[in-house]
């Protein structure tokens, strides 16, 4: 978790880290791309959404219409404003000119912003087929791309496949001491949904040790209910509510994460518990 937090901090500044090294183009003799790159660097200090930012990148593309970075950088504002039509046109260009660099990003965004599960799977699997190195993390650093892929398989109904993917990736993450913020939680929910209750409890307990959130206690409660353990069920629901009110819950700056729950869900369950005599 310690390393995870450090990574999250780095990802918070990822837009500056993602800048290309223009000098490298010059070194390899690609002067056109070097010029396009130098032009693109003039975006510094301008907001992604602004006219100035977009215009500089248009000029960069005019210098070299195959400069993938400029298309990628232009696409971000369209993504964040929900303009899926323009975003897709731009990011497709970036992928066309540099698939290894942008396929993982496009796949993740398809999932994060548009819940395009099949499209995300296709991109992540394509990337995996193109490279012989680890395909890495999602853009925001929350997940390994394989975890994101597993969640997409779950969303299209392939839960056993999703479990296999998450189990495999979490094992690798554990070896690296680099388990994602919600990895155990998603796997636990999958176990719960496929009626592997003992495994679900074990996995939610790992999530508690790694990063406790209201959702984790809520799903643990629901698992205890299935296991007919009313005391634990009620206690976890109370804890879920406390955590939720204390803002210890799943968050994402742009969307609502998979398996997120709302205060209404916890309160309705508490009412049900009360009505069934679990006090």
């Amino acid at each position: 978790m310690k390393y995870f937090n450090l990574l999250m901090l780095l990802f918070a500044f990822s837009s500056s880290l993602a800048q290309p090294n223009c000098e490298a183009y010059k070194y390899y003799g690609d002067t056109l791309k070097y010029e396009a790159c130098k032009k693109a660097m003039e975006i510094k200090g301008h907001y992604q959404f602004s006219k100035e930012y977009q215009t500089v990148l248009d000029e960069s593309i005019e210098i070299d219409p195959t400069f993938d970075y400029a298309y990628w950088a232009k696409s971000i504002a369209y993504l964040k404003s929900g303009d899926f039509v323009t975003w897709k046109k731009l990011i497709d260009k970036a992928v066309e000119y540099n698939p290894k660099e942008h396929l993982g990003y496009r796949g993740w965004c398809r999932y994060q912003f548009f819940r395009d599960y099949k499209g995300a799977i296709k991109d992540i699997e394509k990337l995996d087929s193109l490279v012989d190195y680890d395909i890495g993390q999602t853009q925001n650093g929350t997940y390994h791309l394989n975890i994101a892929k597993g969640m997409c398989y779950k969303a299209i109904g392939e839960k056993e496949k999703a479990i296999a993917i998450l189990e495999k990736q979490i094992k690798l993450n554990e070896e690296e001491n680099f388990v994602g913020a919600y990895d155990y939680l998603h796997l636990g929910v999958l176990y719960l949904e496929t009626e592997k209750f003992e495994k679900a409890v074990e996995t939610f307990k790992k999530q508690s040790e790694n990063n406790e959130v209201a959702e984790n206690q809520y799903y643990l409660a629901m698992t205890y209910l299935k296991l007919d353990k009313p005391t634990e069920y009620k206690s976890c629901l109370d804890k879920a509510k406390e955590l939720y009110i204390g803002e210890r819950r799943m968050t994402d700056p742009y969307s609502n994460p998979m398996d997120k729950i709302y205060l209404e869900n916890i309160e309705n369950e508490l009412k049900t518990a009360y009505n069934n005599g679990y006090k």
């Binding site: 959404f49 404003s81 899926f84 975003w87 968050t251 994402d252 742009y254 609502n256 209404e264």
Partner: protein, 173 residues
């Protein structure tokens, strides 16, 4: 002969003007920010006001709280679940985005619609689907009021609806 010359001139000038318009369309003039919505008095409600001026409208995520809904997202989900009447049609598939401004009082206005199929190609859905989603969105009376440095702000917000066979399957963000 004179008539023919006049007619030819008119046709050429018409063709030329269409072409120029197309060219202008290709080279897009940017507004202040991507996704900005300018006021259109023909379609926008006249009583809707932006409190702090057009130049100060933010995006919903600029305040670092993520997508926040008055009464949480579950309220939005319940609203659409209870009001939207599905149009069963195998050809009605894709994404519909409704983008709008939430002002400093939590009121929404300047609604704009974007539609595409699941391959992100623009298309037009059955009008009944779009008008239902638009009307339900417009009927939501209160949106979250955001503050920056203790001052209430205006911001852009959007809802994306995933439609499969005319059924509303997901609402984002």
């Amino acid at each position: 002969m004179k008539k023919i010359i006049i007619l030819t001139t008119v046709i050429f000038s018409l063709l030329w003007s269409c072409q120029t318009e197309k060219k202008a369309d290709e080279k897009q003039e940017y507004l202040r920010w991507v996704g900005d919505i300018e006021k259109n008095e023909q379609i926008d409600e006249l009583e809707f006001k932006v409190c702090n001026g057009y130049d100060k409208i933010l995006q919903y995520f600029n305040l670092g709280k993520g997508p926040v809904y008055s009464g949480e997202k579950s309220k939005i989900l319940n609203t659409f679940k209870s009001k939207y009447q599905p149009i069963t049609d195998k050809n009605q598939n894709g994404l519909i985005r409704i983008r709008f401004i939430v002002n400093c009082e939590g009121k929404a206005g300047r609604f704009r619609v974007l539609q595409s199929d699941y391959s992100y190609q623009e298309k037009n859905f059955n009008k009944e689907i779009v008008s239902q989603l638009l009307n339900i969105t417009k009927e939501i009376e209160n949106w979250e009021v955001f503050k920056r440095n203790e001052v209430t702000v205006d911001y852009y917000m959007y809802l994306i609806f995933k439609i499969t066979d005319g059924q509303l399957t997901e609402i984002l963000p």
